[in-house]
Symmetry: none
Subunit: 447 residues, 2 copies
């Protein structure tokens, strides 16, 4: 790589930071439909500013920003990011307001700093630095920045249908998300778990009643407790018949990559404030659970009185939000079907099942040349061989955008283990942000 590119990055830190502050100042909470059009416009403007041809591609939801830039040769590199963020609650736990980016101790605090406006802006800065010293990129670039990743990318398939040709012929995709683990080692993931997100709703009386009536009127919170206890037991086994049937055993290359991964157990336990991992797992079993294990998680359970002290009330309704993380080849549609069948068969047909999101899983091949190139470049920037994780424990639309076309994916993020993604006080370290910028510039150079 030309040293001038790195010099350029070093000389324009303040300018880059200003761009990041601007991106993080614009609320864009997809769950609340808040600020999405404004954020799409802002991202489009930023991409145009470094020479992209930009389309705001409409969908039935938020627009997808598509930036295209012609490079040398025929190969097209995809970049994927999202301009939306998670809700900010509980707001009172933020030390500074979530949409007022604040630098403290070398960290920038803001909702979206890590997930993933930091990654968007670091890529913009990398491209600007690269283009300051080259006529054009070494490959064609197609940058897809969607606005509903945090709500499960419900309309991304509409974009994919329209740009099917562009996507299926791509050489590889640099995905959003990721960064350094709790021992500060860089990590590259090659895919995502799938997701099924549902809400269970139970109702009994027409309104909340005095709890003396609990002797003769049903309680919807109890209904949900009993229904949930048939889904998963204290040993964490998911009890829905057929739930595990479609799971594919990982490949030899995937197992090998997982075995090489030195997962920072102690640091993770300390970070999360836990004494032990779920089911007491450690070593290979822990890594397998995290990367290849499906989950059934209660995201929220709400019913009745939650204020201080006591109130004797028989609630009229109860709601549970559940997410299932899925692994290849589980399908969200099939799991939803199995869930509904199971609830009905257990006598819980009265419970309403509302489905919000479904995304299929997609795991990657650590031996693919594109993946190997990304790993070598990362080693050059970060000074150590990165971990290659066949699949993130989280979810993104890898399958719909790349997996279904066989396009390999490598993540490139600017977060670290303390980034508090999806939580109050989300933050990135500025050093990671600029390392990420250098990495993208070097990766471009290597292609």
């Amino acid at each position: 790589m030309k040293p001038e590119v790195l010099d350029y990055i070093a000389a324009h830190r303040e300018e880059c930071l200003a761009l990041l502050v601007r991106a993080c100042s614009q609320p864009s909470v997809s769950a609340l439909h808040e600020g999405l059009d404004e954020m799409a416009a802002l991202v489009g403007e930023m991409l145009r500013g470094i020479g992209f041809e930009v389309d705001l591609v409409p969908t039935d939801g938020a627009p997808v920003v598509l930036g295209r830039m012609a490079g040398s040769g025929d190969r097209t590199l995809l970049l994927y990011n999202h301009y939306d963020v998670q809700p900010v609650d509980p707001l009172d736990e933020w030390e500074t307001p979530p949409f007022e980016p604040t630098v403290r101790d070398g960290r920038l605090y803001a909702r979206g700093a890590a997930d993933n406006k930091g990654a968007i802006v670091s890529r913009i800065c990398a491209l600007r630095a690269y283009l300051a010293h080259h006529d054009r990129p070494p490959v064609n670039i197609a940058w897809v920045i969607e606005g509903e990743e945090e709500t499960g990318s419900p309309y991304l398939a509409q974009f994919v249908e329209r740009y099917d040709d562009l996507l299926r012929t791509a050489y590889g995709c640099v995905w959003e998300a990721g960064g350094k683990d709790s021992r500060d080692r860089y990590t590259i993931a090659l895919g995502c778990k799938g997701l099924l997100y549902v809400e269970l709703r139970a109702r009994e009386a027409a309104r909340d009643l005095h709890s003396a009536n609990a002797a003769i009127v049903g309680n919807p919170a109890w209904r949900l407790v009993w229904a949930l206890s048939t889904l998963k037991g204290p040993n964490e086994n998911i009890l829905i018949p057929g739930f595990y049937d479609d799971i594919r055993i990982p490949s030899a290359a995937q197992k090998e990559a997982l075995a090489r991964w030195d997962y920072p157990e102690e640091e993770t336990r300390a970070l999360y404030g836990i004494d032990r991992f779920l089911c007491g797992a450690t070593g290979d079993r822990l890594k397998e659970q995290l990367i290849f294990g499906p989950t059934c998680n209660i995201d929220g359970f709400h019913s009745g009185y939650g204020g201080p002290g006591s109130k004797t009330v028989l609630p009229a309704e109860a709601t549970v939000k559940l997410d299932f993380r899925l692994v290849p080849e589980q399908s969200p549609e099939r799991i939803l079907e199995l869930l509904k069948e199971h609830l009905a068969s257990q006598g819980f047909g009265d419970i309403e099942v509302v489905s919000y999101e479904g995304e299929p899983p997609s795991a990657g091949d650590p031996s693919h040349p594109f993946v190997q190139t990304a790993a070598q470049v990362a080693e050059g920037i970060y000074g150590h061989a990165p971990a290659l994780i066949p699949m993130m424990s989280g979810t993104g639309p890898v399958h719909v955008l790349c997996g279904q076309f066989g396009v390999p994916v490598v993540t490139a993020g600017v977060g670290y283990a303390g980034s508090r993604v999806h939580a109050p006080n989300e933050n990135i370290r500025l050093d990671d942000f600029f390392a990420g910028t250098r990495y993208i510039a070097a990766l471009l150079d290597a292609l």
Copy 2:
């Protein structure tokens, strides 16, 4: 009874109503410590106004108003009421402000109208009418009006300790609460279920995490679901070992009273908006469940995300509020002990159990002469034999004030099925209020 007493009541309706408006205009929300001293002073002044010797007895909480009046003979009649009311929220559902009593269509709307300032004022009016035509009451009267019934009477025991001699020698007690059922039939209850109110708290990680971590980090909402599912099953049986052990079978007189009670099933189902009662109970089984069945009710379950749409979060904590309604001779202390032992034995020793309230149950004997007198007087006033319920399905401090001394209790209220007690638009019918006034005057006369 002298007809002049009834004439006096009829002639002084407006004056009585003015007194009721004054009592209901003074906020006195014990849960918020709002207006309690002012209300105690107002009640004291009203009692002095009809010749009571009044003490405002201090406790560690709100003062207890004690009014005493010497009568003929040695026997002492207790009256029990409370001057506090429930919180008014949701305020926006009130058609007129809760502390601006308003008469519409023969009903007076105000927080406390039914529960139970209406009962206090109707008794004052009854005594005034009686004393206008008699030198003194036929029995000594000791009137206890506490200020924290709605928060579980936490300090009433301090009053009881001080006036132990007065209480244990009483002939009987006219309790607060009650009135007419949904078929407009007068109902007298003779006791109260007990109560144990607890909060269960589970914690796992130090903060909320991205739900991808559900593969390796415990979920406190699941912990509470599994713990709760060991407390009660879908057949409503409470599974805590020993929970039912101390329950005393109802006496023949209690069973007979219950059998005579024509419970308005259809009206109640319509009022609550339910198709069927719990476990499909009807007839005798339903009445037994309601009056002699202990409960384990979820008052609230709160954990994680409860907003619109989806948020993928692994909550750091989960909280459940539970109330157990207890029947003779279950004790709240013993049930709390059994609950804790059970949770620990099931592997849920990590769940914190916080106890808020405990009140022992107290059921009455329908064949007691005091109860029989009250029933005969009620039949004279209301034109039909009242239902005699050995125990209310709700809870009050019957045990601590009367039950523990063997003093029989009869409720006398001015509410009806549409009174919306504890809810917005609480109200009483003025005809019921004046019937209640005549009833108390007649009961005095009969003693």
